[in-house]
């Protein structure tokens, strides 16, 4: 399935790459692309961005991590990175798109770091007891667990495609890869989900 941008969506071009349109701007409004603001404006714009986009980004972070606390940590790290580049971000980038990109890349790189950490180490503590969480009716727990079992990069592709509704081109921009890679990752992820769900049904 090829995912293309809706034709009626306003779009802007940044660094030669299309980014989402104004319907995804902070709190439903665009931030002014004014460079020569005072420090107070600079700070206030960031505050407004966090206030307007924080919860939305947190939902994405939650889907990437599957855990509220981990999502908060991830988003905090991502927003600190956004702030460290805020002058450039507000002048030249779509803040939300940039923050989403930082969020996703931070998520994937954290996973890489944790994978490095476990190399050569053996956890000898007893694992925690299995959760006694009761499933809620009408929720697709099998699918959710299957999504969480995907490798982080594939999970990120799923979240960007089916939650953020990004096109393959936008997803590639967020992940810093080619459209072809996005398509193959999405295909692999869907295949893995089908296999996992089929196993669950047996």
């Amino acid at each position: 399935m090829s995912r293309e941008a809706p034709g009626n969506r306003p779009r802007r071009v940044t660094k030669g790459v299309e980014t989402p349109g104004v319907d995804e701007m902070v709190g439903g409004r665009d931030l002014p692309d004014v460079v020569a603001h005072g420090r107070a404006d600079h700070d206030a714009e960031f505050d407004a961005f966090v206030a307007g986009s924080g919860s939305r980004l947190l939902r994405t972070a939650y889907l990437l991590t599957g855990d509220q606390r981990a999502a908060e940590d991830l988003l905090q790290d991502a927003l600190l990175r956004v702030w460290s580049r805020w002058s450039r971000v507000r002048a030249a980038e779509h803040p939300l798109a940039y923050a989403r990109r930082v969020l996703v890349t931070t998520s994937v790189s954290r996973w890489r770091a944790s994978r490095t950490r476990t190399a050569g180490e053996r956890l000898v503590a007893e694992p925690p007891e299995t959760s006694t969480h009761q499933s809620e009716p009408d929720r697709d727990d099998e699918l959710w667990q299957a999504v969480l079992s995907l490798p982080p990069r594939q999970r990120a592709v799923m979240v960007l495609a089916y939650y953020e509704d990004l096109t393959d081109a936008d997803t590639a921009d967020v992940l810093g890869c080619t459209v072809g890679t996005v398509k193959s990752q999405r295909a692999k992820a869907l295949r893995s989900l089908r296999v996992r769900l089929a196993e669950e049904e047996r």
Partner: protein
């Protein structure tokens, strides 16, 4: 959306996204956090410099120079001198390539004109190189050991500790961003140990032992926090041959002294204290050097926070290690308790010490970086001061 699976996926992700709570942290808090990170990076540099100054004085007097000030650079060597200060070279501990120039620079930075390179290794998280330097005072009881994290030819950060000659060395090194560190373990010369078990514990989290193989006497473990290693056991074929608390050493003396009076102390394995001299107050994670504890020193440069006391304000003592430490502070006189508001909406009331310095330490297990507001509440139940971290 072409398939049933994709439609299910779309619906499920939108449904699950609704499980996420609202984001409560404001831009101002994030900006302050970023500023604190910057300050920490700068301060770490200052701590390194301060440690260098201290050692420079000691080295100038004691390191076989006949009292000659040791301000001159160390004599350049054609290759790094690789020795255990006590008993000669241990080339097997050099496990990452490092140039002579960087070693000389690190030795000069720490004024270790007569110190030596003990070990090098690649840090597991950042892939940067850590140097382990040692310098022993002539006739002294202790050996100074430094870990220095380097990137290329840049010295990034350092930690200092003091050991008895021939001790097991276990010391955190900065590994990546400010909150990240790894424990560098150097087994004593000639040990038959083949692995080391490192126990980590953090407020609110499980106590976990980690097993790491010794590679030619050297091992590293990525730590969730520099303070988190609480026990070390050297093993040979599964049998324990040495068992100790890593806080058997102490790190740099960067806290204003004297701070002899302990206002608050938790009763945990590594007590968290607020200590004061009446003018300033510091939060420290502490451990007695040896039983009986003749004195108590902090052992972690990332886990301290100090303020000059202002009786009109509620002041927080939040360590740089804000993820895994705890909130402490000093409240205005007359405060009955301090109410802490957390990012997840929970509220914790913490009693303050009945002291002229009404200090407090939160023991609820909440992480300092999740604090959104603190209020000083007097005995009548009124708010007298508030502060956002």
């Amino acid at each position: 959306m072409s398939t049933d699976l994709e439609r299910r996926l779309h619906d499920e992700l939108h449904d699950r996204a609704g499980d996420a709570a609202a984001w409560r942290q404001g831009g101002a808090t994030l900006r302050r956090t970023a500023a604190a990170h910057r300050a920490r990076r700068l301060r770490t540099g200052a701590v390194v410099a301060a440690a260098a100054s201290v050692v420079a004085v000691i080295a100038g007097i004691s390191l076989g120079t006949g009292g000659r000030p040791d301000s001159a650079p160390a004599s350049p060597t054609s290759s790094p001198t690789v020795t255990d200060a006590a008993t000669g070279p241990r080339p097997e501990l050099i496990q990452a390539p490092v140039s002579d120039a960087v070693v000389r620079k690190a030795l000069q930075e720490f004024a270790l004109g007569h110190g030596e390179l003990l070990a090098t290794a690649t840090l597991p998280r950042s892939r940067e190189t850590v140097l382990v330097l040692s310098g022993q005072l002539e006739g002294a009881r202790f050996t100074f050991v430094y870990t220095v994290t380097v990137h290329g030819d840049r010295l990034l950060a350092g930690t200092q500790a003091t050991y008895r000659p021939g001790d097991l060395i276990a010391q955190p090194a900065r590994d990546g961003d400010g909150n990240d560190s790894s424990l560098v373990v150097v087994a004593p010369r000639g040990t038959e140990a083949d692995s080391v078990e490192i126990t980590t514990s953090l407020p609110g989290e499980d106590i976990r032992p980690w097993m790491v193989s010794l590679d030619s006497g050297l091992a590293m473990l990525t730590l969730p926090s520099p303070t988190s290693a609480t026990r070390l056991r050297l093993l040979h074929e599964g049998s324990v041959i040495e068992d100790r608390i890593p806080a058997d050493y102490h790190l740099s003396d960067s806290v204003p002294r004297p701070l002899g009076r302990v206002v608050v102390s938790t009763s945990s394995h590594q007590p968290v204290q607020v200590r004061t001299d009446g003018r300033s107050a510091c939060r420290l994670t502490t451990r007695g050097l040896e039983p009986p504890p003749i004195f108590v020193l902090e052992w972690n440069p990332f886990d301290e926070a100090c303020v000059t006391i202002d009786p009109s304000k509620l002041q927080l003592l939040i360590a740089d290690d804000a993820r895994y430490s705890s909130v402490a502070g000093v409240a205005p006189p007359g405060t009955g308790f301090v109410r802490l508001h957390w990012r997840n909406g929970e509220v914790t009331d913490v009693p303050v010490a009945d002291d002229e310095v009404p200090a407090f330490v939160d023991t609820s297990g909440h992480r300092p970086d999740r604090l959104t507001l603190a209020q000083a509440i007097n005995t009548a139940g009124d708010e007298t001061a508030r502060v956002e971290p």
